[in-house]
């Protein structure tokens, strides 16, 4: 697409209904123009459940915490005319009720509210679910949703373990699920530009990538206490081992406990390491070696790495260095130059390459749309794929493989030694001790 055309599109969208609603009403504008078949993967098998462009998509939101309510529900979901929210679900009644209020105030309709996600999945009128729970719930909910015939948008990091990811991919292929992982930087104009330039050799042969993803914050212990009224603590823990409640263990802070998440390495690695996987065209593969060093808090309570540096080596010789420190972003280094990109800017050793129309380049990369708001493009891509049954830009395997990169980094840090990874078999090479970290037993009654 030429720059003029792009400007025209943006102007048109701005000048019509504007933003999300306009995009949702114009699915034709968002066709996967320039989409590389190699990147996009084969088309999913047609299914009668395909959403017709003229029809509303009935959604259930599972997980109504701050991210679910503010970033998903109040943003791309309720701004989009294609969606109608029939159900919200959370194990915290306070969050659930807030979500109901948001929908009622915006639409005048009161969605059904559930504590148990299985009741959402029982509803035949719901086409798709948006899963915004803590990570340790993603696989259980998503696999159950796929078995119930729902399409899925699931937040990143997609999984708690590599084994969960494998099962999610298998289920998605079995049921023909249209699955969008919430690594929405894939739908960001700057990040896409950087990937396109790298893939088309504009910085020469890629040698090293650096991702700077931040350190885990610090906190102190709090006394164990009774969970607040409305929070079903046992259900919140779900498949994780039972532990006493204290406020700093759940809601946003769950990220810093290994029982529920993987710390910064998965939280932001699922964004920036995902970009490197994309640039390397490794969406169905991954690195072959990993070596990590990290520090942990001396007094807890967070048990994920605090600061870390992880080095990954891919079979083609490219290295990915993932750092907790440094300015947030992704830096690609090639034989002829470098590119740095983050959510605020893109820079290159040769600024001239940033003027190149990337859609004129020979190696195309998946394009989800022209909006400067990557959430708009990412959701629009999900809608279009529900109609066409194509795979989304951040299909379940993309999300799983990028999360795997993060998980094996955490495992290497935890074990304190270099590990060899077989991306085809998805296991560590000749290392039964490391392979014990690929899955975790779930607390009854949950199992996958």
């Amino acid at each position: 697409m030429g720059e003029n055309k792009r400007v025209k599109r943006r102007s048109f969208l701005k000048g019509s209904a504007g933003g999300l609603a306009a995009i949702s009403a114009l699915p034709g504008v968002l066709k996967l123009a320039g989409c590389s078949q190699q990147t996009a993967g084969p088309q999913a098998a047609p299914a009668p459940a395909a959403v017709m462009p003229s029809r509303k998509i009935t959604l259930g939101l599972i997980g109504c915490g701050d991210l679910g309510r503010r970033h998903h529900l109040a943003g791309p979901i309720l701004h989009n005319e294609r969606f109608q929210v029939a159900a919200v679900c959370d194990v915290d009644a306070n969050h659930r009720d807030e979500a109901v209020s948001i929908v009622r105030e915006r639409t005048g309709r009161r969605p059904a509210a559930y504590e148990d996600f299985r009741r959402v999945l029982d509803r035949k009128d719901i086409d798709a679910v948006v899963v915004v729970t803590p990570d340790h719930w993603h696989a259980l909910i998503c696999v159950a949703a796929m078995e119930a015939g729902k399409d899925i948008y699931c937040e990143k990091p997609l999984t708690l373990t590599i084994d969960e990811g494998r099962k999610m991919v298998a289920a998605a292929r079995r049921y023909g699920t249209v699955f969008q992982t919430g690594s929405m930087q894939r739908s960001d104009l700057r990040f896409r530009q950087a990937v396109a330039l790298v893939r088309n050799g504009k910085i020469g042969t890629l040698k090293t990538c650096h991702t700077y993803i931040g350190a885990c914050p610090e906190a102190g212990w709090e006394p164990y206490t009774t969970p607040p009224a409305g929070l079903n603590w046992d259900f919140w823990l779900g498949p994780a081992p039972y532990v006493e409640y204290f406020p700093g263990r759940c809601h946003y802070q769950f990220r810093w406990f290994k029982a529920y998440s993987g710390g910064k390495l998965t939280d932001w690695g699922a964004h920036h390491n995902d970009q490197v996987q994309w640039a390397l065209d490794m969406d169905t593969s991954g690195p072959v070696e990993v070596e990590g060093k990290g520090t942990f808090f001396e007094r807890g309570p967070y048990d994920v790495p605090h600061r870390f540096d992880v080095i990954y080596r891919y079979a083609n010789g490219v290295e990915l260095h993932c750092h907790s420190d440094g300015e947030n972003g992704v830096r690609y280094e090639g034989t002829d130059g470098w590119i740095f990109v983050n959510r605020g800017r893109i820079e290159a050793s040769d600024p001239e390459i940033l003027k190149i129309d990337i859609d004129s380049l020979s190696h195309k990369v998946y394009n989800t749309g022209p909006s400067p708001d990557n959430w708009v493009n990412h959701y629009a891509n999900w809608i279009e794929c529900m109609e066409t049954r194509r795979r989304c830009i951040c299909d379940v395997e993309v999300g799983h493989r990028s999360c795997t990169v993060c998980h094996i980094g955490n495992i290497a840090i935890e074990l304190g030694r270099p590990l060899r990874w077989d991306p085809a078999r998805e296991e560590f090479v000749d290392d039964p001790a490391a392979n014990r970290y690929l899955s975790r037993p779930m607390r009854p009654p949950w199992h996958l």
Binding site: R174, P241, A433
Partner: protein
């Protein structure tokens, strides 16, 4: 870093930070220091198992008679030892872990340790526990821990589990059978469905689809096709019907 006993005794310290530090120290001793050396990993596991079963004299009763010895460490400490063992335990540690399963407060941590141990000894301990443990959810979790293990070792137990009086156990058995690349598994799933429970029937369709994939993956396309056809003939829910049609097409 203090003595091993000193560190272990701090695992349930009232000071949360002190308990956390003890856990981190032990985690390092057990998972980092042995490196990739299998012999050193085994040494770590043996040390943990020895501490798990360590006892101290039980003192004297009111009549002055010696009471039986009691565990040296608290329940909370032994639970953490079991969690640590899950990273490194092997056949030699199975008896100690299986013994811990006799305590209701420890049995879930013991199950988790056995679940992570792929050895035949752990498989046998999980199967043995099925006969002695109570509670449908826990027994179902024991069955779930059999997934991915040697088919010939788990099939006799699964044959029994699909007929268990508890629906949760039957459901878990169906789930595991879906991953066993043995055509006989389909007959067992079918048998489980005879109970008439709609929940069992619904789970069975998904398990049969996974079983067909497992068989096709193992090169037995005929058996896979037969299962897909059987599923289609049984009027499954729409998602499973579409999946069976897709699978049948892929199986050729």
């Amino acid at each position: 870093m203090g003595s091993l006993e000193g560190i272990i005794s701090k695992l349930d310290d009232a000071d949360q930070a002190a308990a956390w530090q003890a856990w981190q120290s032990l985690l390092r001793i057990v998972t980092v220091l042995p490196g990739a050396d299998a012999a050193q990993q085994a040494q770590s596991a043996a040390m943990l198992a020895a501490e798990l079963v360590e006892t101290v004299p039980g003192g004297k009763d009111q009549e002055g008679k010696e009471k039986p010895p009691v565990p040296r460490y608290s329940i909370a400490t032994r639970e953490k030892l079991l969690r640590l063992l899950s990273f490194v335990c092997g056949p030699a540690e199975v008896p100690a872990i299986a013994g811990a399963m006799r305590d209701l407060r420890l049995r879930e941590a013991a199950r988790c340790a056995l679940a992570r141990d792929p050895s035949n000894e752990a498989t046998a301990a999980l199967i043995a526990a099925l006969a002695t443990q109570d509670g449908p959810e826990f027994r179902a979790a024991l069955v779930a821990a059999l997934a991915g293990r040697s088919p010939e070792r788990i099939m006799p137990a699964l044959k029994q589990a699909v007929q268990d009086e508890d629906m949760e156990v039957r459901l878990a058995a169906i789930e595991v059978l879906g991953s066993v690349p043995d055509p006989a598994a389909d007959g067992l799933i079918d048998e489980a469905c005879r109970c008439g429970c709609p929940q069992v029937r619904a789970r069975a369709f998904s398990a049969r689809l996974r079983l067909a994939e497992a068989l096709a993956g193992a090169g037995n396309r005929d058996a896979a096709r037969a299962i897909y056809k059987a599923v289609l003939a049984a009027d499954p829910p729409r998602p499973q019907k579409q999946a069976a049609e897709r699978g049948l097409k892929a199986a050729g």
